[in-house]
């Protein structure tokens, strides 16, 4: 055990531990010292705490990789510069466009974009509902003076009331069903792609690509099963439905930090990469000595020289320059010229 702990990343372990304490603290605060905590959801809470630990751990390890650390550092540096307002607005715009609406997937395929959007919207909505419920931040009570009015509490305060049977009650109590339907539609679209696209068939893996979709469908179907049970079966299969649903959700939570779903958290780095590009362009562009054209920002090339050197790729040349000063086309031409030179020196171009 001690040896296992020793192989763990220290900084990441600290960050992950701190984050679970934060989660526990906000659960206690939000549920008013666990007064409003729903004991039936305790398994989900453990799953969530584990997921938070895992995500914080993996994220911290990830940030320690030199190229990631550089982007992380530069993103904040450029954001909190004198251009804070334009960069913050730009990031907000890109957040809406690319993170929420996922428009960057659109050019990769319309149906693909739609399918992925369904997955994302369904999952995010479901999280937005279930996490506050699990943490005991939200709970519903029957109004003491009525037999049909429900009060919704947030952090222990009544925020709204509604009558049973009204549209708002139907939407509130069935919100997770809609999420499940949306996620299932998305998952089916994505599964269809995986069955028919030759390129995907060649490169996909079961655990990396199929399992996440199966898991999402399983969560959705078992979730719908709970509603189906109390709507049509008078709760006769409640135990089975709720146990299978809990198992699928907890599997999902445990797997969240390790598998494909981790990309949800990595994706935000795209915003940083965008600021980096824009700020780099402002600071000045590098011109390729071969093509004589601008091809990237000087900041990017210089940063990359440092990072690649740290990682064991020192592209410095004897003349004091660097192979990285060339644009991609310049690099291809340099190789072709070297090949030509060698052929020429040998006296034979072919054969």
């Amino acid at each position: 055990m001690y040896r296992l702990v020793k192989t763990l990343n220290r900084q990441a372990l600290v960050n992950a531990t701190v984050s679970i304490f934060v989660v526990i603290a906000i659960v206690i605060a939000g549920s008013r010292n666990l007064q409003n905590f729903d004991a039936a959801l305790v398994a989900y809470l453990f799953g969530t705490v584990f997921a938070v630990f895992g995500i914080a751990y993996r994220y911290s390890v990830w940030l320690q990789r030199p190229p990631t650390r550089l982007y992380w550092y530069r993103s904040w540096q450029f954001l909190f510069s004198k251009n804070f307002i334009p960069y913050a607005l730009r990031s907000l715009k890109l957040f809406l466009r690319n993170i929420l609406l996922q428009r960057f997937i659109y050019p990769r395929g319309k149906l693909r974009w739609f399918g992925h959007l369904m997955l994302a919207v369904g999952c995010v909505l479901a999280f937005a509902i279930t996490i506050p419920l699990t943490f005991g931040w939200i709970h519903f009570t029957l109004d003491p003076n009525s037999i049909s009015t429900y009060n919704a509490h947030f952090f222990g305060f009544v925020v709204t009331s509604f009558e049973l049977g009204t549209p708002i009650a139907v939407i509130t109590f069935h919100a997770l069903v809609w999420c499940s339907v949306i996620v299932t539609i998305g998952a089916v679209i994505m599964l269809r792609r995986r069955l028919t696209d030759g390129g995907l068939i060649a490169t996909q893996t079961f655990e990396g690509d199929w399992l996440p979709l199966f898991l999402l469908i399983a969560i959705s179907v078992t979730g719908i099963g709970i509603t189906y049970d109390y709507t049509f079966l008078q709760g006769r299969t409640h135990q089975f439905m709720s146990v299978t649903h809990a198992i699928t959700v907890i599997l999902f939570l445990i797997w969240l930090p390790f598998g494909k779903f981790f990309h949800i958290f990595q994706r935000l780095a795209q915003l940083g990469a965008n600021i980096y590009k824009v700020e780099g362009m402002k600071r000045g562009m590098a011109v390729c000595p071969h093509t004589k054209e601008e091809f990237a920002s000087i900041t990017h090339i210089e940063d990359l020289k440092n990072v690649s050197k740290k990682l064991g790729f020192d592209f410095s040349l004897k003349n004091g320059g660097s192979h990285l000063d060339l644009s991609p086309e310049g690099k291809r031409s340099a190789l072709a010229k070297a090949h030509y030179k060698a052929r020429k020196e040998s006296g034979k171009f072919f054969g």
Binding site: F104, R108, L304, H339
Partner: protein, 189 residues
């Protein structure tokens, strides 16, 4: 990955001197199903002002890929066959680090979709025992996919080389370049 018949006896041999700039490989590359109908191969004049010689560049599938090493999103992976795959679409954040760090100028960043794509040696085909698209159509055999024995017979005056020098840095690759007999490496600059 669903690999069944990756034939590791088959190797990729490139001889840019033989490239006639016909762009047939470029058209064929777009047929590769793993690229979503985008061509990944590069064909262009080396230095149009002084020569009409063209060059062709596929991914060299480096033993230690610079592209994967500098990727902040861990989006590029090398498999057990030595194939360095195109960016994992769910991870790539479109930062272009790989585009600028690849010593052979291979990866392409698609701005609109914030995604890098590159040659994966037609993984859909090679993993099923077939040749990459480009090598099947190249009329001058600047791109050749076959066994070592075959290439030795066809090019008795040349040897396949897979060691490249960029300054002090040495890069070894899965794809080979045909060099004059006796050569062991290519000194790029």
């Amino acid at each position: 990955m669903a690999v069944s018949e990756y034939n590791q006896e088959m190797e990729f041999f490139v001889d840019m001197q033989r490239c006639i700039g016909c762009h047939a490989c470029e058209m064929a590359c777009a047929e590769c199903e793993t690229n979503g109908q985008e061509s990944m191969i590069h064909v262009h004049y080396i230095d149009r002002a002084v020569s009409v010689q063209t060059t062709v560049q596929v991914c060299m599938h480096c033993d230690e890929p610079a592209c994967a090493t500098v990727c902040p999103a861990d989006a590029i992976t090398k498999d057990n066959f030595g194939v360095v795959h195109s960016a994992n679409t769910s991870r790539c954040i479109g930062c272009s680090n790989c585009v600028l760090a690849c010593p052979f100028g291979v990866p392409i960043k698609f701005e609109e979709s914030e995604l890098m794509m590159k040659c994966n040696m037609c993984y859909d085909r090679t993993s099923a025992g077939k040749k990459p698209m480009c090598a099947t159509v190249c009329p001058s055999q600047a791109l050749y996919y076959g066994t070592r024995e075959e290439i030795r017979k066809r090019r008795p005056e040349s040897v396949p080389v897979n060691t490249f020098k960029f300054g002090e840095l040495e890069v070894k690759t899965k794809v080979k370049i045909m060099m004059p007999k006796g050569a062991t490496k290519i000194i790029v600059d």
